[in-house]
Symmetry: C2
DNA sequence: CTGAAAGCGCTTACAG
DNA sequence: CTGAAAGCGCTTACAG
């Protein structure tokens, strides 16, 4: 393996000078620089990153902790992370926890060994106290997830507001019995979306019937089974807001299996707007989250912190919008208004 | 920051001994070990991985290069990579090329700077010569992709055979005009699948009509448009084999848009078996690739090479199978046989 | 079982 | 503009 001292010797300079050339320092004469560059080329020298990492005490690497890379919602966010990291000369270490708390801790632990310069958590199941502790030791940004009461830099949408808007969309379409299939209540995002749902129901003076709220786990299967439960009620809903798109798809499948037509007999709105939403039938009306932008913003914010530039805002809230496709129907006869767009279709 | 020498001083031993304790060396007395461990605990010492990386000349990190993490096929493979890497104490650096050749080169380059111990390519657009060169410098395994004529360790399925089986399945179901929507011909996998398709057509003495082969790019859109083309032929096909599931879904959408029923009027078979296949309507008949296992095998093979254990086999071919769901129909009246299973449905 | 010492290959004040 | 020298924090033969 060719090392810097070999280059130095061949070019008749010191290692310091080779290092300066490599770093693009302006304090090197043109001739020296050219000579060094030529030797580097000739010897096919590549600097040893492990050595420079130790010396600079930075691996130019960010650890990204997420619950499940096969979840298309997170995959798109990760792409945002990756692109910005790459633009700024950093690498991304992938930490897929598979929703296991022990793995979450393990990945976070890496940051204490200086192997990574910063941490993005797109899942945060560990107690707030631990997160607080971690954030005191290493640059940390939360993406999508957030933590109540702590001033941790966060990038997300307004989940309460978005859930309220989704529910109101159904109510304003003329539905009086609107159900909600929630995410797991252990997750703050799920609780936020339930909160938004409740707000909308109360805002419109509808009955708040707890049997209309069923707790799912974000899978298609749980959407399916919870929809069956809802449809077996004495007074079943005519519309349902699912806390993510997969559960909405499951809900549609369940309705169809009973011969209930979507959207004619049942309106379904999802949350996230993953690619799947445009591929099912009917195409899914849903709340669009700017997944890629969330990823980009979060990484940009983190790198600003890592590089000592304090971010302008510590809590970034990106905007959502309702995308109207084919799984919902206006049963009131009145006009629809507000912050929503016609869905893009194939 | 507490460092090893601090621990050594506090425990009244040398750094060497602390290092031995940390490494679990048996050559440390019980009392010494306990004392050191206690001090480590008290001082909340974490070893500096950047330093040990340099000393051991290894970052315990594997670079994974893939074309697009938002593609569910690759996401699942990456999960296999991750899980095995983690089990064996390695980390995964994510390299999402977005199908850009320049990025592919850049990620691969990292391995020449000793920042990663090995490389898995799940995409390989760079010339064979370059791959050969890289593989001489760093442990390298190809996953899914492979390279003709080079003896590079590879994990994949038999793409020719699988494509032949998919096409034969349609033919044996009584179809005489079977079309193929291929992937981009620049990709060796696409060419393999075309080859398998041709073999099946010839094997069954059907007419080899080049208009029945349309080149797509693996997107839903290209499946849609190519299906429209095929359906506008004077003598349109009654069945189509798409080189991946997304294009198959696009093909179904196109057929439906013309009022052509799937599977009654047109049978469609896909390739890969991504989660989407079970969510569209009708559910997609497809060729199942063991994505997670491909990922696991590839990482296991790579780490064996990295750690100096030569892998038993250099070319691992995992088995595929045809999963029969609702998008194909037997129009012959005869029995179906062979290496296929009934599809799992919700 | 333990320690002193060398050294991994860089980068960076410091001095000239 | 350039170099000598120190040092990042570990690990590992070597010696005892």
């Amino acid at each position: 393996m060719v090392k810097m001292s070999d280059v130095a010797k061949a070019a008749n300079v010191s290692s310091a000078t080779v290092s300066r050339v490599l770093a693009g320092s302006p304090h090197v004469s043109k001739e020296t620089k050219e000579r060094v560059l030529r030797v580097i080329e000739e010897l096919n020298y590549k600097p040893n990153r492990l050595a420079s990492n130790l010396r600079r005490m930075s691996a130019k690497t960010i650890m990204v902790v997420l619950p499940d890379i096969t979840n298309p919602f997170f995959a798109k966010i990760v792409q945002g992370f990756e692109d910005v990291a790459h633009e700024r000369g950093y690498y991304v270490l992938l930490g897929d926890t598979g929703n296991r708390l022990s793995l979450e801790r393990e990945f976070i632990e890496l940051s204490r060994e200086r192997a990574v310069d910063g941490l993005i958590l797109a899942t945060a199941r560990i107690p707030n106290k631990e997160i607080q502790e971690v954030s005191e030791h290493v640059p940390l940004v939360l993406a999508c997830e957030y933590v109540d009461g702590l001033d941790i830099p966060t990038v997300s949408i307004d989940n309460v507001g978005a859930a309220r808007a989704a529910t109101e969309f159904l109510i304003e379409s003329g539905h009086r019995r609107v159900a909600h299939i929630s995410g797991p209540m252990a997750v703050v995002l799920s609780r936020d979306r339930v909160k938004g749902y409740r707000q909308a129901v109360q805002l419109h003076d509808l009955e708040l019937d707890d049997r209309l709220i069923q707790e799912g786990d974000f899978t298609v299967q749980s959407g399916y089974h919870n929809m069956l439960k809802l449809l077996s009620l004495d007074n079943p809903p005519t519309a349902v807001f699912a806390a993510n798109d997969e559960m909405a798809v499951g809900a549609i499948k369940a309705a169809k299996s009973l011969g209930i037509r979507v959207p004619e007999d049942l309106s379904v709105i999802g949350f996230d707007d993953i690619p799947l939403a445009m591929l099912v039938e009917p195409e899914l009306t849903t709340v669009h989250q700017p997944q890629y932008d969330i990823g980009r913003h979060a990484m940009r914010m983190l790198l600003d912190i890592v590089e000592g530039r304090a971010p302008r805002r510590r809590q970034v809230v990106l905007s959502h919008r309702i995308v109207v496709r084919g799984s919902t129907m206006d049963v009131s006869g009145s006009e629809q208004t507000g912050n929503r767009v016609e869905g893009v279709t194939l």
